[in-house]
């Protein structure tokens, strides 16, 4: 008898290594360039003029950047808080039971922002909020926070639901058996066990909100730039390495939060 046929493996295809390397190259080379040039001492973004932190200093001292950064953080924090709260309740409502009628419909409804083109949502919100702005006269950050909360819900919902679905329901039965009231069962068993999922959902929602351009651009009132829309505005005029510096900081924050996210959602061995 001949040797057993090897199972199919994509890593054994000819040229696999080359293609893989090329893809990683394409993914990371532009980002690496951006990061490197944020430390460029020259005004040009194409010529290397030695290492310096001048663009970070410039961005740090730029009042418009400061203002936009604070606004971004406020919006992202509020949106993450609201979205995570709503998503937690949605996850509890959709997983703590067997299959029910209309379950798929509810999943689709909750995850709607993932499927509807963002530009459509943006235009819809623009028109909707415009009417409210006219009617109430309120021009504040509330619109941005609400809009961000809405599209962050599915990002918060998915990790929380995953966590709840992996949870042993008999644990709650056991708590009830040990004299815990329904509220105590939730406080002492369900909530602590789903906490990593909630934290992961909140971080993902925060990052998604921090990064949003399209909806923000349409919904914001005058003078309500967030960091991404401020950068977009800058790039329209002149490209300066200052934008590189801001991007690099945003990248660092995102990478940090996403690493935390993966650590939280990782299956424990």
């Amino acid at each position: 008898m001949s040797a057993r046929a090897k199972p199919f493996s994509v890593t054994a295809l000819p040229g696999f290594t080359t293609v893989a390397l090329a893809v990683f190259f394409l993914l990371y080379l532009p980002i690496a360039t951006l990061v490197v040039y944020s430390f460029n001492d020259s005004l040009s973004i194409a010529v290397w003029g030695g290492f310096s932190l001048r663009w970070y200093e410039a961005a740090w001292q730029n009042a418009a950047v400061q203002e936009a950064a604070v606004r971004s953080l406020v919006v992202a924090s509020c949106a993450a808080l609201i979205a995570t709260t709503v998503a937690t309740m949605a996850a509890l409502g959709t997983t703590r039971r067997g299959r029910f009628r209309g379950q798929t419909l509810i999943y689709v409804a909750i995850n709607q922002p993932l499927m509807v083109p963002e530009i459509v949502t943006a235009v819809a919100l623009l028109i909707f909020f415009a009417a409210i702005k006219v009617a109430t006269g309120y021009q504040g950050l509330g619109y941005l926070i609400l809009a961000h909360s809405a599209f962050c819900i599915p990002f918060a919902y998915l990790p929380i639901r995953a966590r709840l679905e992996g949870m042993d329901l008999t644990l709650e039965t056991a708590a009830a058996d040990l004299y815990a009231t329904p509220w105590q069962t939730f406080r002492r068993v369900t909530l602590p066990l789903m906490a990593p999922g909630i934290a992961a959902g909140a971080m993902l929602a925060f990052v998604i909100s921090l990064d949003d351009v399209i909806i923000t651009e349409f919904v914001k009132s005058a003078g309500q730039d967030t960091l991404p829309t401020y950068m977009l505005g800058q790039l329209r005029r002149a490209i300066t390495p200052e934008v590189n510096a801001i991007s690099t900081v945003l990248l660092a924050v995102t990478v940090l939060l996403l690493t935390a996210f993966f650590l939280l959602t990782r299956k424990r061995g």
Binding site: D168, T170, T173, A175, A176, D177, L178, T181, P192
Partner: protein, 346 residues
């Protein structure tokens, strides 16, 4: 009590008119094949399931409408269901804490429970860091800590290997003895049921077929199902007459049953260890032919072919040589020990 799952055409009577009284301090075992409703019965007692009809009384008080957290009943779950985010000590103290007992009392009881299940060294560990047997003991300690009136155990030993299982069986008996708590124990292992219980309830398809002490169930099964489920049994087609028991082929095989048995055709049952082998043609014995012998260590099973075609098994103690000296094809005489034949209902 009745429990029906679903409705209409899909309705399933998981518990079909089950009626049962368990004594205080008793070790009561529910025994039956998979899907017969053992877990459902326990869940009704614990309060996780509401009976479709009937009531559950504890020391005379009706608990049928009470939620699980207001019943003085604790459960050892088949999967243990230990809280992974709490330490062993916190797991054991959970029930008392929920009852609002003072901290000092909780701590003292946890200490006592840890000692009882010999896990003092593991108080600070998480359940995931324990072996299966240790987890099982934590589950037991957690359920015992609030000193319930009744402890429900749903196949708590099924995940353990044979040796650990034997050890835990002894441990359970000891704990039950020391605490005096009523145990309702579920298993589908008949040997476990026979060795541990004060009384056994045999279930099948949602019905309680027989309740009795292990000896009673083993020696006087009420019907074919119970006889077959508990231990091995030979079934013979026969007849009950005024003056004795007869096989369908006419041979007299035993004295008349004490009382109550209906005169007429019946199924007779006899345990393999009550089948005696003699020389062929001994007066009063049935003639049979050996078809096969199977060696089991302490005893040897001898498969026999009776004259009317019935196959029966005789369990013989293995001799020191290990060979009972019966080759396939050998002719032997068969006799049943005095009083060993049981007359079964349907």
């Amino acid at each position: 009590m009745v429990k029906v799952f679903g409705s209409g055409d899909h309705a399933l009577r998981a518990l079909d008119d089950v009626s049962l009284t368990i004594e205080t301090g008793e070790f009561f075992t529910l025994l039956g094949p998979s899907g017969c409703g053992k877990t459902t019965l326990l869940r009704c007692i614990a309060g996780f399931e509401t009976p479709t009809a009937g009531a559950i009384l504890l020391s005379g008080r009706d608990f049928t409408a009470e939620p699980p957290n207001r019943r003085p009943v604790n459960t050892v779950f088949q999967s243990y269901a230990l809280f992974p985010h709490l330490t062993v000590a916190q797991n054991i103290g959970f029930g008392l804490e929920m009852l609002g007992r003072p901290r000092a009392e909780v701590a003292a009881t946890v200490e006592r429970m840890l000692a009882l299940v010999k896990l003092e060294a593991f108080a600070g560990r998480r359940p995931q860091q324990l072996s299966g047997g240790q987890q099982q003991r934590v589950a037991l300690a957690r359920a015992l800590a609030p000193a319930p009136q009744v402890l429900l155990l749903d196949e708590p030993l099924s995940a353990l290997d044979l040796k650990l299982r034997k050890e835990m069986q002894g441990e359970l008996k000891r704990l039950q003895h020391e605490t005096g708590i009523t145990f309702v124990f579920v298993t589908h292992d008949q040997e476990e049921a026979l060795t541990m219980s004060d009384r056994i309830g045999v279930m099948s398809e949602g019905r309680l077929l027989q309740i009795g002490a292990p000896r009673e169930i083993y020696n006087h099964p009420v019907n074919r199902f119970v006889a077959d489920f508990i231990g091995e049994t030979n079934f013979l087609r026969g007849r009950v007459a005024q003056d004795g028991l007869y096989l369908a082929t006419g041979e007299r095989v035993g004295a008349a049953p004490p009382s109550g048995a209906r005169i007429g055709e019946a199924t007779l049952a006899v345990r393999p260890e009550q089948v005696r082998l003699e020389g062929p043609g001994d007066p009063g014995s049935l003639s049979a032919r050996v078809t096969q012998t199977v060696y089991f260590g302490t005893d040897t099973h001898c498969h026999l072919h009776l004259a009317d075609g019935t196959e029966i098994i005789a369990r013989l103690q293995s001799p020191p040589s290990g060979d009972v000296g019966l080759a396939p094809g050998a002719e032997v005489g068969v006799r049943f020990a005095e009083g060993a034949l049981q007359v079964l209902g349907d």
